[in-house]
Symmetry: D2
Subunit: 210 residues, 4 copies
């Protein structure tokens, strides 16, 4: 089973992005023997983030795509339920992407459906993480920024091509390392988040096999 | 122009629901002469909330449906961008409806699309409210509870019947009256929210005419 | 009865400070006939804020000093319980004053007590505001910035001089006008806050008379 | 050097209190050779919490008292700056103690000073924790509940008896284990908090020696 896991570069003035650290570390974890991990670091750019995922899908032919992003301020690991067909960085609501692009209420795909559900086993993931003492809940919004763009764009590509690929998005909180400089920001340690990512891969592997 | 405006009864142990007060008051506001307001108070029940909206649509034949709900804790008036095809009151994430029903990850319509965008002019509404000194932003999640059920169910009915009706959902914060007993809960005064609802009706009326 | 009411100029990049607007407006309110209001606009400077209060005390000989400040993010009117003998703008915890001064863990008065309680009737104020539908609670920290400096410095001056003056500090949330540009910031309308300030003066006047 | 470390039993309907777990675990940590740890589990009762600390002080003759408490919702380790002379569980602001006692605006010691500063090296503690990657900041309020009662009561006893003992209070966030059932509550893992407590003991030991 081929599993493509993606993360992001730092953005918004932060020095690190824990999802970059997670995809660098996940390959050294003890994973189920039939699982082969492929990783990709995505640019924090509207549209280009999806182009990179699509290029990776075409190259490695994954059975599953797990995209990972940072949701600074969240307290738990949060699989996203839905990607929505919008790019929006309206004033006061978000920051431009790493090229300075700030769309307002633009569709990602003018011919696409309004929303597309993640096809990862989100409820099983949440239950598994909780059994292992890691806080988790299903999030109902991935925002309207790069993370949502990646989720929607990936699901829409799979839909249009009718590919037998399951895909979804997991938001991670700030790492405890990051909250040292911003101590009012909730966090989880990177090693807890790495355990979570390993458990997510295991859950997905069981689910796809079953 | 017929405009159907809906609100909710109290729930979750609260004594009042400002959206009930708003629909009782909006008829006495100074509205554009060609606008005729109809109101309906919805039950805080999965499924039944939509049945009541549909019955009202069939009875009054509205051009526009504006559903209103309480989002306790929010700081601003928030038009919702999307309704999603899910009912979910997973443990720790929400409260049962007023009959005690607690679905987990159930579809509202097993054959419906994953998400449906509001067809109200949300961006124009937000801009209009801000011009009048009222804080507002577009929300990207109406949750997975009765409010989302109302939004999705209404949009899905209009879609299935191919009706020429615009519809959407506006979340209002707690009223200042409510926050007297819970002073850490953000609020806006009921009269500010009534002004907001009047401005929303005006914006919708301009938009549909244009 | 002479009542000195103080407010602040804008700081931290904000364009307005509602407490400046409140002290400009309070004189035009309908107050008890035996109450004479004096107002002062304080600089957002450590130490100088207190010097200005002291100069005003010496000039107008007040029976009561009510200092007012902005606590952006709070949801209610909050009389402060205590001023503490510290100036602190440690990294990540606060912003410099309007001259760029950033003390860390410095005493306001090296010979003063650690803390001094407000001598305003805080509990009666909170009850009165709630009776009038305005959310309020007693706050247990005025921070370690200019507001706390004003509260502690005023109480410490009155203590050292053994003056028959009651004094305290009221924090106000952002005005609704301010939250238009930052719609995730809780607010109350300026007119609600002006009513609150009038009720506070009334409560203080009753209390001092009794 | 004798160091007395105190923690609390569960309260407010929670099943565990991480400070109970911390004081059970700290003795097995690798501490400076000249440090001898004594621990005490305090009741969640106004007044009795202090009586227990005083009994322990008289029994073990500590050089330092480090009291530990849970601040559910906080994101970092927070040494408290000050204890204040008040017990308050006003409606909507706090919960009764474990005997159901709910004082409103009562002094802890009717003859005591309004506030008493912690005599732990709080700034050095915060800097040490941050150097080791653990988020921390100095808190300016321990509330008006049992934790504040313990801090104020301990400092006031030491003051009245003129004892050569340094004392203070450290608030810890919820443990990650606790946030599994309340995933919107910020947390740190118990082992991170145990490392923090060990570093705090080390810092205090260096400071008292110096």
């Amino acid at each position: 089973m081929n599993v493509l896991i993606t993360g992001f570069k730092p953005f918004g003035g932060m020095r690190v992005n824990p999802t970059q650290q997670l995809i660098e570390a996940i390959e050294h974890e003890d994973l189920p023997p039939h699982v082969r991990i492929h990783t990709a670091l995505l640019p924090v750019h509207y549209d280009e983030c999806v182009q990179r995922v699509i290029a990776q899908i075409e190259q490695v032919g994954p059975d599953v795509v797990i995209s990972c992003g940072l949701a600074a301020g969240r307290t738990a690991i949060t699989p996203e339920r839905i990607g929505i067909n919008i790019k929006d960085t309206a004033p006061g609501e978000a920051i431009p992407d790493n090229r300075g692009v700030k769309p307002v209420d633009e569709p990602i795909n003018p011919y696409g459906p309004d929303g597309l559900f993640s096809t990862l086993p989100n409820r099983r993931i949440v239950n598994k993480l909780r059994e292992h003492g890691i806080p988790a809940y299903i999030s109902n919004t991935a925002g309207t920024y790069i993370c949502n763009n990646t989720l929607y764009g990936t699901l829409d590509y799979i839909r249009r091509k009718q590919l037998p690929i399951r895909a979804g998005f997991i938001h991670f909180p700030a790492s405890t390392e990051m909250s040292v400089d911003k101590p009012l920001m909730a966090s989880l340690p990177l090693d807890t988040m790495l355990t979570a990512l390993r458990l997510i891969v295991e859950t997905v592997a069981e689910d796809v096999n079953a």
